[in-house]
């Protein structure tokens, strides 16, 4: 039974979140009662679970990635029980408080976030898996950010600051978790903590311990990472009462307690925790003494109290752990009571400033009483629970297993901190005395006082009747250190050093209270230290600025700036790779004279392309390289490829020519320095590519797949053209993907043209006289139209011929379609104006039909085994297969794309004819 109850507990908490959100939307602020009841019942359920447990602890495990050993593990032991009860109990009180504190209206997100926070904390303390622990930790970080932001625009910067600090702690925890998991080999928390690794490898232990401590310091606001806590006081009172008193800051304490199992006693851990903790305790208390805003005072007081807790945990002995655990409970009770009372005062009086409030014991008697009780508990006065917890902590310090000098120093600092605590607790009570205010605040309603009374009353009850908690505390301490002795909680232990420390605290504290004017003047003499918030803001803004400067490197829209770094980087990588493989200059004679001839031709073409001064020149010359490539392909034995290259080159030039009329005649001008940079990049890339090409070309072998294709194509598919067979039979799926790419290009073209529209036609730089034959477009196209009448039908026949012979000779669907497209281009170019050039049929439908046909053929192929598998028959010594139909699909798609390009680019309803001038031919502008 126990294996499924724990996840149910968590699930119930999560369900409560949904209830909170929906209820907040529909039932207004009164849903707080329901949530309080929900949390209260979870509290009771947890207690019942513990009371009826059959084993030492309750475990639940849900396997997640068995091969990696990852599972979602939950565990309820003494420590998690204690923290769970604190989270749930204080949560219920705060929810009840919210009902009357919040203004009437819808508060769905607020309630949901607060309940989610309770869920996240519950998950954190129940987690028995390192990863789960970290996930819930981050949940609390994110939720606290959102909760602080709920207050409005003024909560934005504090929320960001909180998030930055606690997020950094989360990263530190992630590092610690990862190190632990890899070092111990398991992600189960209990196993990892019990691993012998911690005693065997002190360096790793120190590192992981520091990382864990760092994470806990950010969450529990230790110096110097404490800035966010007073900052976060802009959030509303219930948020502060829950998060910053009882829940979120306790997450760090829980982490430290849990990891004490492994780290207690190691020197780094002890040193770090004790020094930072005691320092924070004194620092926080000193700053609290200067505050006028009650809520800020409480914030710094929380910082100080957490410092005490951290230091006590650092001591690490059984007594110290008991003291820490007791103080967790006591602090949660009195701090939430204090926050809520201050909220009551704020709600009624409209201010939290000490200097402006007075006479509250007459105007708000119940609140005054509760405030005093809670403050007394904080100061450590008997018979309240705060006294018991403070004594227990002092006992831990007094019994620390260190050199007596160190113990003495720790005791002195602890006493100093506690005295300051006493002093500021008294300071909190200042508003109770004095003359009544001009507009005295009225007492808060009973419904609001009730939760405060429960919290403050808890301090009284547990202080007086200590044995109530003994089992819980002992179980918790034993969960960390199994050999801890039974917790001995009572008001009187006899004349112990702890008692002496407490008395010293009273004396010094009383002196501070009596001489408070002198104390204030002394404090005034010291300059206000640099606010930690300012430091944090400076850190954040400087990192944002550094990021912006880094982003400036590629912030511009210029292609040049974006392309240059990756091209140079790839060239360097290529060079490195080529050099690593050794520059192989081939000494053999695989090179033929035709290769050298083509190299020369390509060199000429490339040089002319680079030096082209106008767009017309560029378009004219760019085809040279393409044609030379086609010849090279033939020489290399790739005839199909050569044909395709030839046709594609022609079509590219045609499309470019169609565009020329919309672009300026000459190019943009750039600085010479920029050209030099581009040139160097080009040279670098060329050299790198030379190395790569030598390596690739030098590895002269026939791949196994190629060998198989050469040997078996005829028998498998009946085709003689191996390349075409690979395209439509063996690797038809790749060709199918290619058709889809063609379709995408067509669609993208259509969308671009529709959404942005073509550039207008430019006035031609050519100026022709009226009597010139070049003036009349119909006459101009005469030669081309006559050729079309002859060549057009030829091209159609040629296209079909190429199509049918694809399986046996160079040809195939692609080449046939490109030949047909060439015919379309001829018609287009010969048309005198747009009315004639309107080609029927929708290009998109053609592409779609092609892809659809290919898909159908593919699905038919499923019937004989797999998608696109060809089915063949023999008809009179000719093999026909569904691959032919597939090729038809290819044909349609390619024609569709070219048609799309021609139609969409070529037609324009407001064509402007060239300018006319009767005085002879002149050329203006351009080249």
């Amino acid at each position: 039974m126990s294996t499924s109850i724990l996840p149910l507990l968590l699930a119930a908490a999560l369900a409560l979140v949904i209830v909170a959100w929906l209820g907040g939307r529909f039932a207004g602020r009164a849903i707080g009662w329901a949530i309080a009841t929900g949390l209260g019942s979870l509290f009771a359920a947890t207690v019942a679970l513990w009371a009826t447990k059959t084993a030492e602890t309750l475990d639940a495990s849900q396997s997640w990635l068995p091969t990696l050993g990852l599972a979602l593990r939950l565990r309820l032991d003494g420590l998690s029980l204690l923290f769970a009860l604190v989270v749930l109990g204080i949560g219920a009180l705060v929810m009840a408080y919210c009902v009357n504190y919040l203004p009437p209206g819808r508060h769905g997100p607020f309630y949901a976030l607060l309940t989610f926070f309770a869920f996240a904390m519950l998950g954190l303390v129940l987690a028995d898996d390192l990863i789960l622990l970290w996930v819930f930790w981050e949940f609390t970080t994110v939720t606290s950010f959102l909760l602080i932001q709920q207050v409005g625009p003024k909560g934005r910067r504090p929320a960001i600051r909180t998030f930055v600090v606690t997020g950094a702690g989360g990263l530190s925890l992630l590092a610690a978790v990862t190190l632990t998991a890899t070092a111990t080999g398991t992600t189960r928390l209990t196993d990892a903590l019990a691993s012998p690794l911690w005693t065997q490898r002190p360096a790793t232990t120190a590192l992981v311990g520091t990382l864990v401590a760092l994470a806990a310091f950010t969450k529990s606001a230790q110096f110097p990472l404490h800035a966010w806590l007073p900052d976060a006081m802009v959030a509303s009172t219930p948020v502060s009462a829950y998060l910053h008193a009882a829940a979120m800051v306790k997450a760090g304490i829980y982490l430290l307690l849990r990891f004490s199992t492994a780290f207690a006693g190691t020197p780094t851990w002890t040193l770090l925790l004790v020094t930072v903790g005691l320092l924070t305790a004194v620092y926080g208390a000193t700053l609290a003494l200067r505050r006028h805003d009650l809520k800020e005072l409480l914030a710094y007081s929380t910082v100080s109290q957490l410092g005490f807790l951290v230091a006590t945990i650092g001591v690490g002995t059984g007594y110290a752990l008991v003291g820490a655990v007791v103080h967790v409970v006591a602090h949660a009770l009195f701090k939430s009571a204090l926050f809520m009372s201050v909220g009551l005062i704020d709600h009624s009086a409209g201010t939290r400033d000490l200097r402006r409030l007075s006479g509250l014991r007459r105007s708000m008697p119940a609140t005054a009483v509760l405030l005093s009780v809670a403050a007394a508990s904080m100061a450590g006065l008997p018979p309240l629970f705060g006294f018991v917890s403070k004594e227990a902590m002092f006992k831990g310090f007094a019994a620390a297993p260190w050199a007596s000098g160190l113990v003495g120093a720790a005791i002195v600092v602890a006493v100093a901190g506690a005295s300051l605590t006493f002093a500021y607790s008294a300071r909190m009570l200042l508003p109770l005395f004095g003359p009544p205010m001009d507009a005295p605040p009225h007492e808060a309603p009973a419904a609001m006082i009730a939760p405060v009374a429960v919290a403050a009353g808890g301090g009284v009850v547990f202080g007086v009747a200590d044995p109530l908690l003994t089992t819980f505390i002992t179980d918790a301490a034993r969960a960390i250190a199994p050999t801890a002795s039974e917790a001995d909680l009572s008001l009187w232990h006899g004349l112990t050093p702890a008692l002496g420390m407490t008395l010293a605290v009273y004396v010094v504290g009383a002196l501070l209270v009596i001489g408070r004017r002198r104390v204030e003047s002394v404090q005034g003499a010291f300059p206000t230290p640099r606010r930690a918030v300012d430091v944090l803001e400076a850190l954040i803004s400087s990192s944002v600025r550094a990021g912006r400067r880094l982003g400036d490197l590629t912030r511009s829209d210029a292609l040049f700036r974006h392309l240059l770094p990756p091209l140079v980087a790839f060239s360097i990588i290529g060079l490195a790779g080529a050099t690593a493989s050794g520059w192989r200059l081939p000494a053999d004679s695989t090179t033929r004279p035709l290769d050298w001839a083509m190299l020369a031709l390509i060199a000429i073409g490339v040089v002319l392309t680079l030096r082209a001064r106008s767009r017309v020149a560029l378009v004219t010359i760019v085809g040279v390289a393409g044609f030379a490539m086609a010849v090279l392909f033939v020489s290399l034995g790739a005839t199909d490829v050569a044909l395709t290259q030839l046709l594609v080159e022609i079509l590219t030039v045609v499309v470019m020519v169609l565009l020329l009329v919309r672009l300026p005649t000459s190019f943009h001008v750039v600085r010479r320095r920029r050209l030099r940079v581009a040139l160097s990049a080009g040279v670098l890339a060329g050299v790198a590519m030379l190395g790569v090409a030598l390596v690739v070309v030098g590895a002269d072998f026939l791949s196994d797949a190629g060998r198989t294709y050469l040997a078996r194509t005829k028998e498998l598919t009946g085709a003689s053209n191996v390349v075409n067979s690979i395209l439509v039979d063996f690797r038809a799926f790749d060709t199918f993907g290619e058709l889809v790419v063609l379709g995408m290009a067509g669609v993208a073209t259509a969308v671009a043209l529709q959404s942005r529209g073509l550039l207008p036609l430019r006035p031609s730089p050519l100026v022709v006289p009226d009597d010139s034959p070049a003036a009349d477009p119909v006459a101009n196209g005469l030669v081309l139209r006559v050729i079309d009448r002859l060549v057009g039908p030829l091209l159609v026949v040629l296209s079909l011929w190429f199509f049918m012979r694809g399986h046996y000779y160079p040809g195939g669907g692609f080449i046939a379609a490109l030949v047909a497209s060439a015919g379309l281009c001829l018609i287009f170019l010969a048309a005198p104006d747009d009315r004639v050039a309107r080609l029927r049929g929708s290009a998109m439908r053609l592409i779609g039909a092609g892809i659809a046909l290919a898909t159908v053929v593919g699905l038919v192929g499923l019937a004989v085994g797999s998608f696109l598998r060809p089915i063949g028959t023999k008809v009179a010594d000719f093999s026909i297969s569904t691959a032919l139909l597939f090729d038809v699909g290819v044909y349609l798609a390619v024609i569709g794309l070219v048609l799309a390009a021609l139609r969409l680019l070529g037609t324009d309803s407001d064509a402007r004819p060239p300018r006319r001038r009767p005085t002879g031919i002149t050329v203006k502008g351009g080249e």
Binding site: S556, R674, M689, A693, L710
Partner: protein, 154 residues
């Protein structure tokens, strides 16, 4: 060796063109780059075997590797589709196919004016700094004045 040099030449030229201003030159650079890579792929089958893989009873010691050829065929067609799309991109929108936001060095629009003096005066009025250089330029690319090129920073 010649093939390797061809590949290197095309690639270097392609990279140079792709780093220039104006989408048409970038597209030409893209075309040259794809030429280089296609040649590299086809040549990876080995340069000693150059017979076309067409026919029956093919001899593996002299026939070229058909697999890279199939790749390259697909690649050529896809590159064509991409080139078409890029060319479309160069002629949509407004202005021309400039790839930078700087006004420096923009090609001149020819307005519909009849007199030479009016034309020259018009341009002088609208592009004061570099029009003279543009009118008087020689075959070298002129240096433009010291205005910052980076107007496009957001």
């Amino acid at each position: 060796m010649a093939i390797a040099l061809t590949i290197a030449l095309l690639f270097g030229a392609g990279v140079f063109m792709i780093l220039r201003r104006g989408l048409l030159r970038v597209i030409v650079g893209f075309v040259l780059l794809s030429h280089a890579v296609n040649l590299l792929l086809v040549a990876s089958g080995g340069l000693s075997r150059r017979d076309a893989p067409i026919g029956t009873a093919l001899d593996p010691s002299t026939t070229a590797d058909p697999l890279p050829q199939a790749f390259v065929l697909t690649a050529i067609v896809i590159a064509f589709a991409v080139t078409v799309f890029l060319l479309v991109l160069s002629v949509v929108g407004d202005g021309d196919d400039d790839t930078e936001l700087s006004l420096e060095g923009r090609a001149m629009e020819l307005p519909d004016l009849d007199e030479d003096d009016e034309i020259v005066a018009f341009h002088r009025a609208h592009q004061p700094t570099n029009w003279h250089a543009y009118l008087d330029r020689t075959d070298d690319t002129p240096d433009t004045p010291d205005a910052s090129e980076r107007r496009g920073v957001r």
